[in-house]
């Protein structure tokens, strides 16, 4: 009896909070037929938003992946003063509000910011332009790869790398042939979560973007613009694409968790 009641409560709670919103996105997007859905993407501003989102992710994700590997390598393989401090600082962006994450770049590069005058003299735009969007997105997705790799590499230990080096292998060779095969699933896990957040970030990007249609609106910002125009079909069409991204991310993530035999957080 208790069992049925608790399962029912869980399903109703998740139904109202998760399934209904997801359902409404796909029903609203595809309810008028696939042609209407496809037609929403003919709009040039929508196309520009998709391209900008892909461009941003294409810059941010590799950059944060390289950072994550470097941070995990030095933290897992070496002992040095300030190591726990470094680990705490890497997680810092997760604690900061997305709006504050955008604000800090405005204070740095905006017209009244620290470097604002210099940038204006040299005719470089960062805020209300693509570089600002890339910076703000990098900030919010900064810890994703590192926080997957650090515990994984610490747990794997150094024995195999030490053996490879002692036997005469070079540093790069050791990384690509010894370390990488052992961390690849964890790395992929971090990368897909980093990518999902990079493509979906709203708050931080909203502050630095300037909302110029066709130029500085990413997909999430374009959803807001269409919503404010009461162009619901368009808003839900873009939202359905991002929901699809979330669903694919979740499937890959679940498969990786089964593969690695662990559950994360």
């Amino acid at each position: 009896m208790m069992r049925i009641l608790l399962i029912a409560v869980s399903l109703i709670f998740l139904g109202a909070l998760l399934f209904a919103p997801l359902g409404v996105v796909f029903v609203s997007a595809f309810g008028n037929g696939i042609e209407t859905w496809l037609a929403s993407f003919a709009d040039s501003d929508t196309g520009a938003a998709i391209r900008l989102t892909l461009l941003t992710a294409a810059i941010v994700v590799p950059l944060n992946t390289v950072f994550g590997i470097c941070a995990a390598w030095c933290i897992a393989k070496f002992e040095f003063a300030g190591k726990s401090m470094l680990i705490t600082l890497i997680d810092l962006p997760l604690a900061v509000s997305p709006v504050v994450s955008g604000l800090i770049y405005v204070l740095l590069f905006g017209a009244q910011g620290w470097f604002g005058g210099w940038l204006q003299e040299h005719d470089i735009s960062i805020i209300f332009a693509v570089p600002g969007i890339v910076l703000a997105t990098s900030f919010v997705t900064f810890p994703y790869v590192a926080r997957e790799l650090i515990p994984l590499m610490q747990q794997l230990g150094n024995d195999e790398e030490e053996a490879a080096i002692t036997l005469g292998a070079g540093g790069w060779f050791t990384f690509f042939h010894v370390t990488l095969p052992r961390i690849r699933w964890g790395l992929l896990y971090g990368v897909i979560l980093c990518n999902a957040r990079a493509m979906g970030e709203f708050g931080a990007v909203s502050v630095v973007s300037g909302h110029i249609r066709g130029l500085t609106n990413t997909m999430p910002l374009h959803i807001e613009a269409l919503y404010q125009d009461y162009s619901m079909a368009g808003a839900f069409a873009v939202a359905s694409l991002l929901s699809l991204l979330a669903v694919i991310t979740l499937i890959i993530k679940t498969l990786l968790e089964w593969r690695m035999g662990t559950r994360h957080r």
Binding site: I7, P21, F80, V100, F202, G203, L245, R263
Partner: protein
């Protein structure tokens, strides 16, 4: 303390540490310093006037009130969901388990748009609530629901592993000794899970306080009524009042640090609990 405690044959410390700290410094620490300096550089009376302005106070009340309520809803229902997933076997359990993380993957703009559509007066759920006089979309209740959605996985994912590790024999012992199920739950199970529940609560609360994306859709953004603190920062920036934006930003950053500290202390408490139980 020496720079490196032990010499290692593994190469690459210089380049990896160098790149990691440079990237961290340039991307995270320098911009955050700019915010703190901007706030600290302000005239103290002006700073105080900005952060205690009635409109700002109304936004704190709403942001904290709605976040607190959302986190409370989550510890009740998140606990039930975690309990159901750990203790019961039913068709679709693995699917439900996987989809709990959806709010981590779903962009906040999508969840905001979708929740607004579901809870609007003509929406799937809103149409049944509106005749009862319950207004969700464009009202504080809508903000609470959006914050509940984004905080939900934090509570489930911290309570779930703690519940899995909870030894079943303790409950059986309590039952054998004549304790009622309710007594066992409140005096045996709940105290053991307290660190996990509190950690989940704080994580959900901390995430909710900073949230902006989903709220901007569902809140209606009416000053003094449904205007959250992050939105107020954006409004100040739109007015080119960078100093005021920085002042409110500093308040939010300070709150983030307090939350981060609280979470670390709670997790340390939880670890002590577990290692203590193992030693016994």
């Amino acid at each position: 303390m020496r720079w490196r405690v032990e010499r290692s044959v593994i190469p690459g410390f210089g380049i990896t540490f160098g790149f990691a700290s440079f990237f961290l410094g340039a991307l995270v620490l320098l911009p955050l310093t700019a915010l703190v300096m901007k706030g600290a550089g302000m005239d103290w009376t002006r700073f105080l006037a900005v952060v205690t302005d009635p409109r700002a106070l109304a936004s704190y009340k709403l942001t904290f009130g709605a976040s607190l309520l959302a986190a409370l809803i989550n510890i009740v229902f998140g606990f039930i969901v975690a309990w159901t997933l750990v203790r019961y076997r039913f068709p679709g359990r693995r699917f439900i388990d996987a989809i709990i993380d959806m709010p981590f993957a779903l962009p906040t703009a999508v969840s905001g748009l979708a929740l607004t559509a579901v809870f609007a007066g003509n929406g799937w759920i809103g149409q049944y609530l509106e005749p009862l006089g319950i207004k969700v979309a464009y009202a504080p209740l809508g903000i609470t629901i959006a914050l509940t959605l984004i905080g939900m996985p934090f509570v489930v994912r911290t309570v779930q592993p703690a519940l899995e590790e909870l030894p079943r024999d303790v409950e059986e012992a309590a039952a054998t000794l004549g304790a009622s199920p309710a007594y066992t739950f409140f005096r045996v199970i709940l105290p053991a899970l307290a660190p996990a529940v509190l950690t989940g609560f704080t994580l959900a609360f901390a995430r909710a306080v900073g949230e902006y994306g989903s709220i901007t859709f569902i809140a209606g953004n009416i000053p003094y009524k449904t205007e959250i603190t992050p939105l107020l920062i954006i409004i100040k920036l739109d007015e080119y009042d960078y100093a005021a934006a920085a002042a409110i930003g500093c308040v939010m950053l300070a709150i983030s640090f307090v939350m981060l500290l609280t979470i670390n202390l709670l997790q340390a408490w939880g670890r002590r609990r577990i290692s203590g139980a193992v030693r016994r």
